[in-house]
């Protein structure tokens, strides 16, 4: 299903990137929370109900990756976003542990507190799905529903990545997936980013989505993302009474340690959830979305022909699916 990368000649000239393009809607309120000296910037749009917290993803991009959703959802609900640590208007801590998924989850709760939000429906793309999972497990009283788009939570079948080397090793040449790793990022961050997002947006005619992501990735740098790479992400859960549901853990069908760790989270999620996954996703295969939905007992929407980021590439479909799901939960919340 996947098409060849279609990003064409080098992206637009550097000088045309100097200004953020017009937004369709600007926040009604902005603020910054601080936890352990790290500042995290948030935005709130609209005053409706319920509240939707659009979570950060991998810090390679910032909260603008929700730009196709914010204006629509804010007309119907209340929308809160924040820039993940390492990008946008948030700080770029220099210790790996500051990028642990538990920190992102704690940031989410701090943002809910700062915006006077009791419970929210949370949505995440790719690694953002893991941040949603972590938040839903640790703070179940704050999460009314969960939406997982193009989830990267360790449940997908591995996808061959020719040329890739272990993260801290130097590949013989910097080409294609060989760019993925500390050496490749330090060697040429923009070239890696350009390659990576041509894989994320592998649908034809995705030049604008790729350019946007490259632009957002230029708001951080290789060293920051290398630091973040050393953080914990969906580590195997140790029993902790305050977030254990009643009953024993089911026998795990997991075939790997990563899968087993992920399933340790999913069975602890109590809120209703929605899984959206493109079946042409070459970053986190659709098998991961299917397994996540099955483990959560979630509604599953497969987008046939779509890649890793349908928020950017199929915004209309995603918006309508999110609205339907949120309205169902919203009715139950009242």
């Amino acid at each position: 299903m996947a098409h060849a990368p279609d990003s064409g000649p080098a992206t637009r000239p550097a000088d045309s990137r100097s200004m953020e393009q017009s937004r369709a809607r600007y926040p009604d309120e902005t603020g910054v929370i601080e936890r352990d000296g790290v500042h995290v910037a948030w935005e709130r749009y609209g005053d409706g109900s319920p509240t939707l917290l659009l979570m950060p993803t991998w810090s390679i991009i910032h909260s603008r990756h929700w730009k196709g959703q914010i204006p629509y959802l804010a007309r119907h609900f209340r929308v809160v976003t924040f820039d993940g640590r390492g990008n946008g208007r948030s700080d770029r801590p220099t210790n790996a542990a500051a990028y642990d998924d538990t920190e992102f989850a704690a940031d989410a709760i701090a943002v809910l507190d700062a915006t006077g939000t009791g419970r929210a429906i949370m949505a995440g793309l790719s690694m953002g799905a893991g941040y949603v999972l972590q938040t839903a497990v640790r703070y179940p009283d704050r999460v009314a529903g969960a939406i997982f788009v193009g989830s990267s939570v360790g449940l997908a079948d591995p996808i061959p990545r020719p040329g890739i080397v272990p993260f801290d090793e130097v590949p013989p040449t910097f080409d294609g997936w060989a760019r993925y790793g500390a050496a490749g990022w330090r060697h040429d961050w923009p070239a890696f980013v350009e390659f990576f997002f041509s894989q994320v947006f592998n649908e034809r005619h995705s030049t604008k989505q790729i350019e946007d992501a490259v632009d957002w990735a230029s708001d951080t740098d290789a060293e920051t993302i290398i630091t973040a790479e050393g953080s914990a992400y969906l580590s195997p859960l140790q029993p902790a009474a305050e977030w254990e549901p009643v009953g024993a853990e089911p026998e795990s069908p997991a075939s790997s340690e990563r899968e087993s760790a992920a399933l340790g989270y999913t069975w602890r999620v109590r809120c209703p959830s929605l899984v959206i996954h493109g079946d042409a996703d070459v970053i986190s295969g659709v098998s991961g979305g299917r397994r996540l939905a099955a483990a959560l007992g979630a509604q599953l929407i497969i987008l046939a022909g779509s890649g890793h980021d349908p928020l950017g590439r199929d915004p209309v479909k995603v918006n309508l699916a999110m609205r339907t799901f949120i309205e169902q939960i919203g009715r139950n919340l009242r």
Binding site: G8, Q21, S22, R23, A24, H205, T207
Partner: protein, 420 residues
């Protein structure tokens, strides 16, 4: 069921099909000022063919100002639309607008506005959507064909994104890619556009290809569009016949050669205005009785233009078009509406397309050359003395442009009417 004293839920009404009135939702592009006038004219012609037709408009400033003046009904969700014209202004700089990139960088606004459109038609009360360069509606209906709820009439006055030289290889790649996506959309889903109308004639289509190895724009457009001719939005003949009377009303003297400089309502025109004003001392030496009137518009401070006392600088002219129809020569930017209004009024004019604006430099210029109307001026190659020379030459030249058709609105309406 008894409500037991609680407020009853709002009633839902469903109307049987044959009890329904004919209803259309009209979307008029706010980019440039030309669409509103022509769309009002087309709506009026459509009502002649369907007297029971109800039209709501999903529109934003500045289109809404024109619609309100005509007593048209504006859909309440119009207030939710994100501003396209403010974006275009933000993308402009001194006599410069990369129109292709500006529309590309409007993607977030287009998604947001499509969602507003979707909310407006979701309940199924409209039979027909008319989209005059409603890029959001056309693009996202092709991306989400299951969301089509009505018949759809699509209109445009140009087909094909074209690269400008300054954009280099990258822009040539991008315009070809955008064209390819549009072609694939239209050919895969012919059911989306029930009627595609090119506002013009086949001869108005540029002689270019959509990109390397791609179809000729004219061939493809002739296969996929019907042609309405140009839609002026007014009948130019009274203005032509009554021109002497109009001049007297406006206080133009018989021995005066009146040059009007008008650069639109945004701030983008300041540089051109300044430069044309700077040509006045040279021009007045060449032209007896030269009178120059410069219209600054609401966003340009007349004090910064450095005009000599002989040049009249006006902030606002209430009926600019009457002035243009009465003048001896106009100096304008390269937008389609203003230049074609001048062509329709058979007035000579100099036009300066904005730098990097593919529509003005290529599509509009091609059309004007077909009508032999106006004189193309390259802003960067036109210092004040060149402008003065061009003013003198054009004032001395007899009118040679072709008449502009005045039945375009009726032709467009006749193409749309069978859909409803």
């Amino acid at each position: 069921m008894s409500s037991g004293g609680a407020a009853p839920a709002a009633a839902e009404t469903w109307t049987r099909s044959l009890a329904r009135k004919r209803r259309a939702l009209y979307i008029s592009s706010p980019i440039g000022l030309g669409h509103a006038q022509r769309d009002v004219a087309i709506a009026a012609e459509l009502r002649k063919l369907h007297p029971d037709l109800e039209i709501d408009w999903l529109a934003q400033h500045p289109v809404t100002a024109v619609l309100e003046a005509h007593g048209e009904r504006i859909h309440p969700l119009s207030a939710e639309l994100a501003s396209e014209s403010a974006h275009i202004t933000a993308e402009s700089s001194e006599h410069d607008l990369n129109a292709f990139q500006a529309i590309r960088r409007m993607d977030e606004i287009l998604i947001a506005n499509f969602m507003v459109f979707h909310d407006a038609v979701e309940t199924g009360e409209y039979d027909l959507v008319i989209g005059d360069e409603a890029w959001d509606v056309d693009h996202f209906l092709h991306e989400n064909p299951e969301l089509k709820r009505t018949a759809f009439a699509w209109m445009t006055d140009f087909v094909g994104w074209l690269p400008m030289p300054a954009g280099g290889e990258r822009e040539a790649f991008l315009t070809a890619d955008y064209n390819a996506e549009m072609i694939e959309h239209v050919e895969r889903f012919p059911r989306i556009r029930d009627r595609a109308i090119f506002v013009g004639e086949p001869d108005d289509i540029v002689p270019d290809d959509f990109g390397p190895g791609m179809p000729a724009i004219r061939d493809w457009t002739e296969r996929h569009y019907a042609f309405s001719g140009y839609v002026t939005g007014f009948d130019p003949s009274p203005l032509i016949e009554r021109r002497e009377e109009l001049r007297r009303e406006l206080g133009f003297q018989p021995d005066e050669q009146v040059v009007i400089v008008a650069v639109g309502g945004s701030g983008v025109g300041e540089a051109l205005l300044r430069r044309v004003i700077a040509s006045y001392p040279d021009a007045v030496r060449r032209v007896n009785g030269l009178r120059m009137i410069a219209v600054a518009g609401p966003r340009i401070d007349p004090a910064v233009l450095g005009a000599p006392p002989e040049v009249e600088v006006r902030r606002f002219v209430p009926d600019l078009f009457r002035h243009l129809a009465a003048c001896d020569l106009a100096v304008v930017q390269g937008g389609l509406t203003t230049t074609m209004e001048l062509a329709a009024a058979r007035r000579p004019f100099l036009y300066f397309p904005l730098r990097n604006h593919f529509e003005q430099n290529r599509h509009v210029r091609h059309r004007l050359e077909r009508y032999r109307a106006g004189r193309y001026m390259d802003y960067d190659a036109s210092p004040p003395e060149v402008i003065a020379g061009a003013i003198a030459e054009e004032l001395a030249r007899p009118i040679r442009s072709l008449p502009v058709e005045s039945d375009g609105a009726a032709r467009a309406a006749a193409l749309i009417a069978p859909l409803i």
